[in-house]
């Protein structure tokens, strides 16, 4: 079934992808424009800042994208196995905290990142085991853990790990452990972005080139076929959550070790990225390359909204609203297909009626 002409209303998967993405983004932009207009701002100026304001600083743009790339993976990989991982936020926090502590105590940046990932993986393991063996809904556990970890970390930072000079910030990452900037001729970017790309490639490798990834994908697509082939879907689900948690933890670690070099007591540098990760994974269709592109897009929106806030005094949370609409639009994978097949059926009925009289 290859691609057919537009007139016949039949599309390939690839074309559907483009339709759905543009449709959802357009919906988000339209709603944002309406909100801006209602609130008395100039919608066109606002939207253009939103979309393009982020280009001014490519380094910041890409670095920002790094973190939601990782949380995007955290949602996407369990999705392959059929699980919802909304714990990207918590896994990220705990990855960051662990990385901070490891960096402070050992001065080794690589170790810090690995341990951060490991911490996130443990969290993923807990949630999936509870889901598989106790039937506990993973959405509820995830949100509860997110919030508990959030407050726990704030406590730790404010009470134990604060920097005496700047009490609202944690102790700083020692210089030996820091990941810094990469100089490529004229450009300077944080090294975390290329590093994240390596992790993305690694996740792609696991998913498509290893037994583990194969088993995860089969279990998600057809548990019956998995069992026929001797694969245990439960184990695959747990493995997928461990992997997802790992990457989210790494995301948090990269934030602390490679960008901020400390954690602030309100976790503002990481707040909300878990949920952005969900939007990124949806838009990127769980495909690693799609996730990279979607992260850059989301990052542009976030930076654009900051610029909008600066220049037009519109709160940057408009980007949150926009992301929300996009995510809602992505909850309707069948809407577009239903619409198109509905139109197609009506056309066929018309044609059929003409034939059969």
């Amino acid at each position: 079934m290859s691609s057919k002409k537009l007139g016949k209303l039949e599309f390939t998967e690839y074309e559907f992808f483009i339709i759905e993405t543009t449709g959802s983004v357009a919906a988000g932009l339209i709603v944002s424009g309406i909100i801006l207009a209602i609130l008395g701002y100039n919608p066109l100026r606002g939207l253009s800042l939103l979309l393009f304001g982020g280009i001014r600083n490519p380094d910041y743009l890409l670095s920002r994208a790094t973190f939601i790339m990782m949380t995007g993976l955290a949602f996407a990989i369990p999705m392959y196995a059929g699980l919802f991982n909304i714990n990207g936020e918590g896994e990220m926090y705990i990855g960051g905290l662990t990385a901070l502590l490891v960096a402070i105590y050992t001065g080794n940046g690589f170790l810090a990142i690995l341990m951060g990932g490991f911490a996130g993986a443990v969290l993923g393991l807990i949630i999936s085991v509870l889901r598989v063996y106790r039937g506990v809904n993973e959405v509820v556990t995830a949100i509860m853990l997110n919030m508990a970890i959030y407050y726990m970390i704030i406590y730790l930072i404010t009470a134990k790990l604060y920097d005496p000079v700047a009490p609202h910030e944690s102790l700083k990452v020692p210089a030996s452990a820091r990941f810094g900037l990469l100089k490529l001729g004229v450009f300077r970017i944080h090294i975390i972005f290329p590093l994240a790309l390596i992790f993305i490639a690694f996740s792609y490798y696991i998913l498509y080139f290893t037994k583990l990834g194969y088993e995860i994908r089969v279990s998600g697509l057809s548990p019956a076929s998995a069992k026929y082939a001797g694969i245990d879907p439960n184990k695959a689900m747990i493995n997928s959550m461990i992997l997802g948690g790992f990457f989210a933890g790494v995301g948090g670690a990269l934030n602390v070790i490679g960008f901020m070099y400390y954690m602030d007591s309100m976790l503002t540098s990481m707040h909300g990225m878990g949920f952005d990760g969900i939007g990124v994974a949806l838009m990127g269709r769980n495909n690693p390359i799609g996730i990279v592109l979607a992260s850059i897009f989301f990052s542009m929106l976030i930076l654009g909204s900051q610029r909008m806030q600066l220049l037009m005094r519109v709160p940057k949370e408009l980007a949150d609203a926009l992301s929300g609409v996009i995510i809602i639009a992505f909850s309707l994978p069948y809407a577009y297909r239903m619409l198109i097949s509905y139109l197609r059926t009506r056309r066929m009925i018309k044609v059929g009626a003409e034939h059969h009289s």
Binding site: S2, T210, S222, K227
Partner: protein
């Protein structure tokens, strides 16, 4: 106005599906008021289709229906219910966590405003007048299947049904429950209710019905009065002489070799926890095709799933090449040289994955490098080989399998397993849903493999296929092997009897 003696008159019913399949052709059905009328036939004869038309679920392509003399056209089950028709399916439509009473209230509440106490009263009346043993306050999911069925019947009676359609009602009952059930039917008949009884079981048809319509391949073979025929006559009509004539002449084949698979006294439970396989034993030799014949739902699936390790074995052993492999995992068993071609392509293949990914599904170990890495080059050339050797028509190796035609999917599935030259192949419904060309291809392939020494267990509801291919045939009924023998030893009558549950001597 004279009282109408005919409850149902279906005339000249034809049903042709959009894809061209003719399910029913010029079928007439006449059921007298107050009789128990049997509808007899094999799988695919058209019994269920005809009844779904009567119940308003499907519309006929041609033909008319009269209920109690009145011409009707049903737009949906609700119209049929209004005319007093009630249907009890094989798969019940009850809400499991609700009690019997709650299900009754639910079912009636859409017709009229009902009061729980009124419902209770009416239910109790019906229960008493028929002697229907149904506990009102127990949750449906806690009830035995036999009792659940009675709840379905009660549900239908509560809607003042005058005509009851029962689709294979005894398929879920134990022998004792069957007797109680038939007793209840007699009581219902005394109350003046007309009953249509769909079945493939000869003994029951003979014991309970007043007259029988026999269907075969969408046509009416005959309509008989039950007390004027015996089971042998019925079997003959159900199966038909042509089937047996299709056995090819004795083909030259090497004698079957040594025993390679032995199943001893296997007991297996189904998903509901009931015993589906009750002490099955058989042997399979190299170079032979053993055809397992039987109507769907008599334990074949559970038997096969137990052999390959997909389903736990309650009791008994599976011995493959002299080794006890009972309870081992499927991938282990496949690795040892036993291949399984499941009856559903949705299980045997992962439809959303591409051809290459599907070709390595059951033998993943063979495509891994030392570090656990999948060697896709090897997989790709392997899948190319399958595609070439088995003539699978594809657009691209990377396209999802769901876009292939059924025939090509089956070629891929069969090819994937066969290419490893397994010692034993279990093939379930290998030509189900395929066109003639694909069917012939698969069948000749199986014969060729047999000639090369492979042992094949062929599980199929298609008797033509069983007779065409098998060297030996075993008939399974309700989880037991009724008889085993060579194809020549099975006359149509005997086959019909065995498949219908009547033990008889095969060797003449």
């Amino acid at each position: 106005m004279p009282e109408e003696k005919t409850a149902i008159e279906m005339s000249n019913i034809t049903k042709i599906y959009p894809d061209g399949v003719v399910a029913l052709r010029n079928v007439d059905l006449i059921v007298k008021k107050g009789e128990i009328h049997g509808l007899l036939g094999e799988n695919g004869a058209g019994k269920t289709t005809l009844m779904r038309i009567l119940y308003g679920e499907i519309k006929p392509s041609k033909g008319t229906i009269k209920i109690f003399g009145k011409k009707v056209r049903f737009r949906g089950p609700w119209d049929a219910i209004k005319e007093g028709i009630g249907m009890v399916y094989q798969h019940f439509s009850l809400i499991p966590p609700f009690t019997v009473l709650e299900n009754l209230v639910l079912s009636l509440s859409s017709i009229a405003k009902v009061n729980v106490n009124e419902v209770k009263e009416k239910a109790k009346n019906i229960i008493e007048s028929i002697g229907l043993n149904v506990p009102l306050n127990v949750r449906v999911e806690m009830l035995d299947v036999g009792v659940q069925q009675r709840v379905e019947i009660l549900k239908v009676l509560m809607r003042d049904a005058k005509i009851l359609i029962l689709d294979e009602p005894t398929s879920v009952l134990t022998p004792t429950e069957v007797n109680e059930f038939l007793e209840m039917l007699r009581k219902l008949k005394k109350m003046g209710i007309t009953i249509i009884f769909i079945t493939h079981k000869l003994k029951e048809a003979k014991s309970i019905t007043d007259s029988i319509t026999i269907l075969r391949k969408g046509r009416v073979v005959d309509v008989v009065e039950t007390n004027k025929v015996n089971e042998i006559d019925l079997a003959k009509m159900m199966i038909g002489r042509e089937t047996i004539l299709k056995i090819p002449e004795k083909r030259s084949r090497p004698e079957a070799g040594s025993v390679i698979l032995k199943v001893e006294n296997l007991h297996v439970r189904d998903d509901k926890g009931l015993l589906a396989v009750k002490g099955v034993s058989f042997i399979l030799r190299e170079g032979e095709i053993l055809g397992l014949a039987g109507v769907q739902g008599n334990g074949q699936r559970e038997l096969v799933e137990a052999i390959i390790g997909y389903r736990p074995v309650e009791k008994g052993r599976v011995i493959f090449m002299g080794e006890d492999v009972t309870g081992r995992s499927p991938s282990e068993i496949y690795g040892k040289g036993l291949a399984y071609i499941p009856d559903s392509r949705a299980i045997g293949l992962v439809l959303d994955m591409d051809v290459i990914s599907n070709s390595i599904l059951t033998r993943l170990k063979n495509f891994l490098s030392k570090g656990g890495r999948i060697v896709w080059d090897k997989a790709q050339s392997f899948s190319s080989k399958i595609v070439k050797d088995f003539e699978v028509v594809i657009d691209s190796l990377k396209a999802p399998v769901k876009y292939l035609s059924g025939g090509n999917q089956q070629r891929l599935l069969v090819g994937r397993e066969v290419i490893w030259k397994p010692k034993v192949i279990i093939a379930a419904e290998p030509t189900h849903g395929l066109d003639i060309a694909a069917t012939e291809y698969i069948r000749s392939l199986l014969v060729e493999l047999r000639d090369r020494g492979t042992a094949i267990l062929l599980v199929s509801t298609d008797l033509d296929e069983i007779f065409q291919l098998s060297d030996r045939i075993a008939v399974i009924y309700e989880g037991e092997i009724m008889a085993t023998g060579r194809p020549e030893e099975f006359t149509p009558e005997k086959l019909g009897l065995l498949m219908g549950g009547v033990k008889c001597q095969v060797k003449s």
